[in-house]
């Protein structure tokens, strides 16, 4: 297992190199021009060209990429075109917010969806099962953008229980975290229910019941642990989508995370920042998937042995 994890980690630099090259070319293929964004529509072509030169964008893409790589190797991800601050500093300032938001949202999702799904599977077709399945489908289908605005109107404007937007206290985290948690709640709930139902139909569950193990013990000790493998896989894979979800949620709530940074960087064609956020996303996805695989191995001795 340790060897497996090491191999994965060793593959990371290669993957980063490939992805960085892809992103480097892709952001430059986007129509639009950072110099034009800086100089404004009234700027002459000559003024735009001058800014191009200053940013080094008049160099061939290949040479720009080599320059980027040699700097990146020493930890310098370049300077933001829009704010003229180091990209690494921008990332370091925004990343903790996305991390906090993502963790809070997923913690919430697991705390609601896992017990809910287990209970739904315990009595399939029952009132709770029908209610919970309905809610989880709603969670998956609802537009988080719309939900966020409605939650703001209700809890921040009418009731004034929670702050409207921004960051600064745990209370600020609640509305964005709930909004971001919606989709994973639906996903994890449905996965838990399906996986539990499958396990509960196994022979060893009948054996456990036959030898007189209590209802709760059967559900938690015998069924849940075995049902967890696919759930952890789904959560692990889905965690990578947090930056995608954060783009919408952070924009609605002005939450100063990577999602918001990415949106403004794409708007301004701030190539170095777009690259930086994308690299952080790649590293996180790889590490998260690896963590999920290690967690599965810890849960399931059969995989550990293999």
């Amino acid at each position: 297992m340790t060897g497996y994890a090491l191999r994965k980690l060793l593959a990371l630099p290669v993957m980063l190199l490939a992805v960085s090259a892809m992103i480097f070319v892709c952001v430059r293929l986007l129509p639009g021009d950072p110099a034009r964004m800086i100089a404004g529509p009234e700027a002459s072509a000559e003024a735009v060209a001058r800014i191009h030169h200053q940013l080094g964008l008049d160099q061939p893409v290949g040479r720009q990429y080599v320059a980027f790589l040699s700097k990146a190797a020493s930890g310098d991800l370049g300077t933001s075109i829009a704010t003229r601050r180091p990209v690494a500093q921008e990332l370091a300032e925004h990343a903790p917010y996305t991390l906090a938001l993502g963790l809070a949202a997923y913690a919430l999702a697991v705390l609601i969806a896992l017990p809910g799904g287990v209970l739904a599977a315990a009595a399939p077709g029952g009132a709770w099962d029908r209610l919970f399945s309905g809610v989880s489908i709603l969670c998956v289908s609802i537009a988080s953008f719309w939900f966020g605005l409605m939650a703001m109107e209700l809890f921040a404007v009418r009731l004034r229980w929670l702050p409207l937007m921004g960051a600064g206290s745990p209370a600020h985290l609640i509305l964005p975290a709930v909004t971001l948690a919606l989709a994973p709640i639906g996903l994890i709930a449905r996965m838990t229910r399906a996986s539990m139902l499958e396990v509960l139909a196994q022979d060893y569950i009948r054996t456990a019941r036959a030898k007189g193990v209590g209802r709760v013990a059967v559900l938690l000790r015998h069924a849940l642990r075995n049902a967890l493998t696919p759930i952890v896989t789904i959560v692990g894979l889905n965690l990578g989508a947090v930056i995608g979800g954060a783009v919408v949620t952070e924009t609605v709530f002005s939450w100063p995370g990577l999602g918001q940074l990415l949106v403004s960087a794409v708007r301004d064609r701030d190539y170095p920042v777009v690259q930086g956020v994308a690299l952080v996303a790649v590293v996180s996805v790889v590490l998260l998937n690896l963590t999920a695989e290690l967690a599965i191995a810890a849960l399931n001795p059969r995989i550990r042995a293999a």
């Binding site: 639009g32 404004g40 700027a43 001058r50 109107e153 921004g166």
Partner: protein, 554 residues
């Protein structure tokens, strides 16, 4: 009925105490985790305690304040639709960046309502040939860093704008006008212009011409730390989050009434509206007209608006058929119900265009008869130009301007014109709009729906849009309009020494443009700003900058 006021109070109390409890909990937990980590099976418990601590610490990390301290009776919070792009006044062209920087910086002069007032300059003279302008500086003014504001500072400020190698965003505005700038003595500065330029004082009144501290320029900090002479000094800038400014105690003029100003932003128009109603923001703008009628009815809020300078039009490709024929372009103009656009899209908060200049611009010459809605005339012109059976036009539209494009689609359909909307994201749109004639022809693009906000200088509206040298991709003449008479009159107007002469020329240019109809002129949108009751002294400058430095909160 439930008492929401009480509930709110209770809830806020609960949150405050929860925050306190959580802080204590964090201390306890971290202590516990440290103790646990030392016990048996160290690897596993350390992992557990560590991950728990990271989780909890992250969630609670937010408990610390940002130190903005922008609440209270004399602290103003303003929410804008866009975060500032930087703290250097010369390195942006965005109205809202100018809004955030305005309380911290001052120029030599200030223009308000068409008049020019002295600011950092106490007086000025102009040479007979109009090429040399000499300014006498106000004595005893200091920058926020303590350095004196003197002739050398003015030279440094403009030198970096006219430097041929300068890549500052606003350099393109100043370089063609100012040839050189020199200090005659500590308090006297002379500008030598490249040509007589009647709007020079307006140019000096622009936010981009603010005098900056030479020390900050040399140190290279000006991009991120504002350093001017204004009534408010820079405290903090958190990109995409907030800017905080505090009263400048050493300000040379009348002390501001506010202690501090905090700037927030949200790209979502409905959030601005909610922030005003919720009390997070004292001032919010520019507001979408969609919310204006409802806000005007809210007793807790007040709406201020003024005729805006944000001008909307459709540029037609004057080089390619069918729009190389002026009659076809005029037909589209007559098929456009501008009053309908203003009432439907802007809830009435706008002006139907009747000239190629906004109402706020000097020398505007409105001609509602030739820029009016007349469907019969539109059909007649189309028939006369051989398009009785109708025609097709593809127009590039920025995604945020889809609504006016759809309204035009319906209006022009009545005249037999089939408008194809090419809805594009901002950057993609800019590339398409500024494409040269060959690219546009290849893409089959007959027009571009665009908007422009050049402030109050007629030249800065008419020249980029209609002078032949500014045909895209060189400039913003997106339909490649080329008319020798317009070019000549623009040059003459700029060099004209008498006001009457300029007025005559600018009126003639506008009449010519309306006649040739290279653009379908649509409307100007009002600048709308919402205030909470009790906030006073907020005004909107003619160029759309929201001025809050003289504001007060009751």
């Amino acid at each position: 009925m439930m008492d929401f006021g009480r509930l709110t109070h209770l809830a806020s109390q609960t949150w405050t105490s929860t925050c306190g409890h959580l802080r204590n909990l964090r201390k306890t937990f971290l202590g516990f985790a440290a103790a646990q980590a030392g016990k048996a099976s160290p690897w596993r418990s350390a992992l557990r305690a560590g991950s728990g601590a990271v989780l909890l610490g992250l969630a609670l990390g937010g408990c610390q304040d940002w130190g903005d301290g922008a609440e209270g009776p004399d602290a103003l919070t303003v929410m804008l639709t866009e975060a500032p792009r930087g703290m250097d006044p010369a390195n942006h062209t965005a109205t809202l960046t100018g809004t955030v920087l305005a309380p911290m910086y001052e120029g030599l002069v200030r223009t308000s309502g068409g008049a020019t007032e002295p600011l950092l300059a106490s007086g000025w003279t102009q040479s007979a040939d109009g090429l040399d302008w000499t300014f006498l500086l106000r004595p005893g003014v200091r920058f926020h860093d303590g350095a004196p504001m003197n002739a050398q500072a003015v030279v440094v400020t403009f030198q970096r704008l006219i430097d041929p190698a300068s890549a500052l965003a606003a350099a393109g505005k100043f370089r063609p006008v100012i040839a050189s700038v020199q200090a005659l003595d500590d308090r006297t500065v002379r500008f030598h212009l490249t040509r007589p330029y009647a709007d020079f004082l307006i140019l000096l009144g622009a936010n981009q011409a603010a005098i900056v501290s030479p020390r900050a320029v040399r140190a290279g900090t000006i991009a991120t730390v504002a350093d001017g002479t204004g009534p408010f000094r820079f405290v903090a800038w958190r990109p995409n989050v907030s800017v905080t400014e505090a009263r400048n105690r050493d300000y040379w003029g009348a002390a501001p009434l506010l202690r501090s100003i905090r700037w927030l932003s949200s790209a979502e128009p409905s959030v601005l509206n909610m922030a005003l109603r919720n009390g997070l923001a004292d001032v919010a703008g520019p507001l979408s007209p969609v919310f204006a009628p409802r806000m005007a009815r809210d007793p807790a809020l007040r709406l201020i608006h003024q005729s805006g300078h944000a001008f909307f039009w459709v540029a037609l490709d004057t080089r390619l058929p069918p729009f190389d024929d002026a009659r076809v372009r005029q037909a589209l103009s007559y098929a456009t119900d501008r009053a309908g656009l203003v009432s439907a899209l802007l809830s009435g908060f706008g002006q139907p265009a009747a000239a190629p200049l906004a109402d706020a611009t000097p020398y505007v010459a409105r001609d509602p008869e030739h820029v009016g809605y007349d469907l019969a005339k539109a059909r007649q012109l189309l028939a006369a130009s051989g398009h009785a059976s109708g025609l097709h036009i593809a127009v590039a539209v920025q995604d945020s301007d889809e609504a006016p494009a759809e309204a035009l689609q319906a209006m022009w359909a009545k005249a037999g014109v089939d408008l194809e909307i090419r809805r594009l994201e901002g950057g993609v749109y800019a590339a398409a709009a500024f494409a040269g004639p060959k690219d546009k022809a290849r893409q089959g693009l007959g027009g571009v729906l665009a908007s422009w906000s050049s402030g109050v200088v007629p030249e800065l509206q008419l020249r980029p849009l209609f002078a032949s040298v500014n045909a895209a991709p060189a400039g913003a003449n997106l339909g490649f309009f080329a008319d020798a008479e317009v070019d000549r009159m623009l040059d003459e107007a700029e060099a004209a020494r008498s006001d009457d002469e300029r007025a005559r020329l600018y009126h003639a240019v506008q009449a010519r443009i309306i006649d040739e109809a290279p653009d379908v002129l649509l409307f100007t949108r009002d600048d709308l700003v919402g205030l909470r009751r009790g906030v006073s002294g907020v005004t909107i400058a003619p160029d759309g900058v929201i001025l809050v430095a003289r504001a007060a909160k009751a």
